[in-house]
């Protein structure tokens, strides 16, 4: 049987923390992924112009050019921007929302486990590889399609799939959380608040929904 070589996915890690770059690089380097590093937003921007990446892992708070500023600049300069996962040491709703408006809807909070990181990276790459004509059937599939739509700036399309996901399974807090994000992106704060409240009712430990609610109340 012929062995088919699987093309490695190229990931760029942008973090001002040298040791985070070191551990993330070693944790992800494998037959599946090839990792490149940038120590700040300016370097990340430069590298992303020079080469095409399948995924960016971006720290939000960096001296000089922040992760958000870098993502905004990449998007401004390039039509075809790679998906991004935000790495954050502390969830700040305003920043997460800004990242989401740039298509970076997934995030990991420091400290995170290698397993979490690998899992999120694989999920996003799978999501990106979904065929364009993929027809979701289950609630989980609708959620993934909604995320993909949001990543490409289609908030309306994302909302429709989230509503279908909720209709199929109204007990998934993540659907309501993402719906809240979609509503916030269209500045519908009242309905967003309701969505975050629903997310918290389903999962009282949903930290992000609780942070969004506190932020909306402030």
């Amino acid at each position: 049987m012929d062995m088919v070589a699987v093309e490695k996915k190229n990931i760029l890690v942008v973090d001002d923390e040298k040791n985070i770059r070191f551990t993330v690089t070693h944790a992800l380097t494998s037959d599946e992924f090839e990792i490149d590093e940038a120590s700040n937003g300016i370097e990340g921007l430069k590298k992303s112009q020079e080469r095409s990446y399948d995924l960016l892992l971006v720290d939000l708070r960096m001296p000089g050019m922040t992760g958000i500023e870098m993502l905004r600049e990449i998007r401004r300069r390039k039509e075809d921007t790679p998906p991004a996962v935000v790495i954050t040491a502390y969830g700040i709703p305003q920043q997460l929302l800004e990242a989401a408006s740039l298509g970076a809807i997934d995030y990991v909070r420091k400290p995170f486990s290698i397993q979490t990181l690998r899992s999120i990276v694989r999920t996003i790459l799978d999501r990106i590889n979904l065929p364009g004509d993929f027809l979701p059937v289950t609630a989980t599939e609708h959620l993934e399609v909604a995320k993909r739509k949001l990543m490409f700036g289609d908030g309306d399309g994302a909302k429709k799939h989230l509503q279908q996901a909720i209709a199929l399974d109204p007990r998934n807090g993540e659907d309501f959380l993402l719906l809240g994000v979609c509503l916030l992106l269209e500045e519908n704060r009242d309905q967003a608040k309701e969505a975050f409240q629903r997310a918290l009712m389903i999962d009282p430990l949903n930290k992000t929904a609780s942070e969004y609610l506190a932020w909306l109340a402030a």
Partner: protein
């Protein structure tokens, strides 16, 4: 990067949030490192490298905690006679020794032109203040730094000048704010601490851009011995 609120309760919450942010960075590294070590499949040289990373990150966390604790609870100044020349040299030696491994040689010159041997001040706090300012100058890409003291009426002006990258007007406005930093892996409490100590002595601190190259930080300390 951020300014703490004037409302004490909000300021505490913001301080804790920003400090937690800084601690979460080394914690993330330690956690991932532990996971990698746990697999037991790493080659020995990689294992050693990861153990070094963990060790360095714990030292860094200790330093971060020390800085935060010091900043939030600087004791009242206890003025005693302080030898100016000795103070400047001690500060220079302590700081240049601590960066010796990571930086190319930087000439640090010391000049006491006050005409005085002593001032009345809290020597420990003054040394801390000057170390924070000098540490900042040594990270500015400078090849030469001068640490000096002169008299201005009843005050002593300490100055740390460097020929490094300089400072923008925007950064000069924020540089003494807690958690403001433009440097990789730094907490951003050093110059905020320096400002607190200067003010605790009834003095002040300011930064000016020394175009075409470099920065001057001036610290005015009233001489309490007079």
């Amino acid at each position: 990067m951020e300014t703490l609120s004037k409302d004490p309760t909000t300021a505490v919450a913001e301080f804790v949030r920003l400090f937690a942010h800084e601690l979460n960075n080394p914690l993330a590294t330690i956690r991932m490192s532990a996971e990698m070590l746990q697999t037991g499949t790493l080659p020995p040289e990689m294992q050693n490298e990861i153990v070094d990373v963990v060790f360095n990150e714990t030292i860094r966390m200790e330093a971060l905690i020390e800085q935060a604790v010091y900043y939030t609870a600087i004791p009242p100044a206890n003025p005693l006679p302080v030898e100016i020349g000795q103070l400047l040299e001690t500060v220079r030696d302590a700081e240049t020794n601590s960066i010796a491994e990571e930086a190319s040689p930087i000439a640090v010159e010391v000049a006491n032109v006050t005409g005085l041997e002593q001032i009345g001040a809290d020597g420990l706090q003054l040394a801390r203040l000057l170390r924070e300012v000098l540490a900042n100058a040594l990270q500015s890409g400078a090849s030469r730094v001068e640490l000096s003291a002169r008299c201005d009426n009843d005050d002593i002006i300490f100055q740390v000048s460097d020929d490094g990258e300089g400072i923008s007007a925007a950064a000069a406005k924020k540089i003494f704010q807690p958690f403001y930093t433009t440097r990789e892996g730094r907490l951003g409490l050093g110059l905020a601490t320096a400002k607190r100590i200067a003010e605790q002595h009834g003095g002040a601190i300011e930064v000016t851009d020394a175009a075409p190259a470099g920065t001057i930080v001036s610290i005015r300390i009233p001489n309490s011995a007079r």
